[in-house]
Point group: C2
Chain length 271, copies 2
């Protein structure tokens, strides 16, 4: 598709500091940016927002909150405080939403972690509403269930989002985490019908993945049928950005100008 709805997560071009990323994205014709917390370090979220808007880019999301589960109540309280701080930063940045990587602890059951996630979202929701910053629950691939997220399917994320009955709690659909799920089409339709489809993330799944975390593929490098999944997303009426979010030691090691060109070309060709 054209770049009009192309957004890039700053982590995708990790070697670039925020001002450089902003300048390069805008020059490449990209229209949106999702800002990772590390990208605002040294600048602060308010100044980061000014730099981004001055370049004509739209801020799509601030990444990332969550990580609520903890075997100790002090640890859970600390996680809630960190999420509140993140919401304040998102408001200073003027980002409309934060993405929640919900968390998990290998030292307790997934059910307990899921309850703690619900309690965590409950605890930060009033501040999110007050600051007008939405919360997007991102289900993570089951290979991250040990310590990154106990929410591993779109069905679970939909259940969680619907529980809150709030315009401020929805879901981020990332193809990397969900492409394999036989229920995906059905659950995307459900998510959209409930007004809970807040974000759509793209990259690709490489057939010979060599690292569980940092070996995502550029769109077209793997086996995900991106056009089909986007058709399901758009069938719900979703008109938001398609956000490119690639963690890759291989791509980070490249000249990032060349990589950005590959990203925009792949976006036009494969998304």
């Amino acid at each position: 598709m054209t770049l009009d709805r192309c957004c890039i997560h700053t982590i995708t071009t990790k070697p670039w500091a925020l001002p450089e990323a902003v300048e390069k994205y805008a020059a490449a014709g990209v229209k949106g940016i999702s800002v990772w917390q590390n990208a605002t370090e040294g600048i602060g979220p308010r100044r980061a927002g000014e730099i981004i808007r001055a370049a004509g880019l739209e801020i799509v999301s601030y990444v990332r909150g969550g990580f609520f589960p903890n075997t100790s109540s002090a640890g859970r309280a600390q996680a809630i405080d960190q999420n509140k701080k993140l919401l304040e930063e998102a408001a200073a940045l003027a980002a409309p939403m934060i993405v929640l990587v919900c968390g998990a602890s290998p030292d307790q059951s997934l059910d307990i972690s899921r309850n703690q996630i619900r309690e965590g979202i409950e605890a930060i929701l009033p501040l999110a509403e007050k600051l007008n910053v939405k919360l997007a629950i991102e289900p993570l691939h089951p290979m991250y269930a040990a310590d990154r997220s106990a929410i591993n399917t779109l069905a679970q994320a939909n259940d969680m989002a619907e529980f809150f009955k709030s315009d401020y709690v929805g879901v981020a659909v990332d193809v990397y985490h969900l492409w394999w799920d036989p229920q995906l089409e059905k659950e995307i339709a459900r998510c959209g019908a409930n007004g809970n489809l807040f974000a759509y993330h793209v990259c690709d799944w490489k057939v010979n993945t060599i690292d569980l975390l940092n070996d995502r593929g550029l769109m077209g490098e793997g086996c995900i049928d991106l056009k089909k999944i986007r058709s399901w997303v758009e069938a719900t009426g979703f008109k938001g950005f398609c956000e490119v979010e690639i963690f890759s030691n291989i791509h980070w090691a490249k000249d990032q100008d060349i990589f950005l060109k590959e990203v925009t070309e792949a976006f036009i060709l494969h998304v």
Copy 2:
């Protein structure tokens, strides 16, 4: 649990040839063995079966068939032939069942692969019935959906097994692939109620998994609640073996006598 229902897959102690593995397992008090095809090379399945029975071990399964999907019809026909050959070998070994890693192709949709899996099982089922060798569909973790299996949840495996309405088609439940699934307890109950719970495999999920294929954990090394999942399996009336199946570059690099001792101790403590 005690070793009375302990079975080990030959791949777990890959450095050992079959005769050595058989001798060592029996001496350690292990009662069952699941034989990988590579372990019979040079011996042949008939002689392998004699060696195993002479040592007093029970043969639990022959591993592994499947890999049905292929973009070419010639490739699919070849896969069916290979599965028929595997069934003949299982009969010569006198194994009661083969395990099916169903297969997937990154060059076609998961739906097409799932149809081809159904067609493949359909094609080999008459021979399985004739030889009295059961077929256990093993759902694989979603991280293997690109090229190893398009059957990634127990719900899908149950659907597939129930489709055939045959005493010869059932399911192998492996904790490594399924532990994360919020539907697991329900689907194990369904599987058992339909008489389709043919096999139960154990190992562990390491929190910092460094290799997608060969970094499985010894029971107790990871975060899977093995006793809880076994309680669900046994609640269905399952009285079969708990099969230890560990692929691990780390454990294979050890002295295998020491590793076997760790396996039996972990089995008693954690399974």
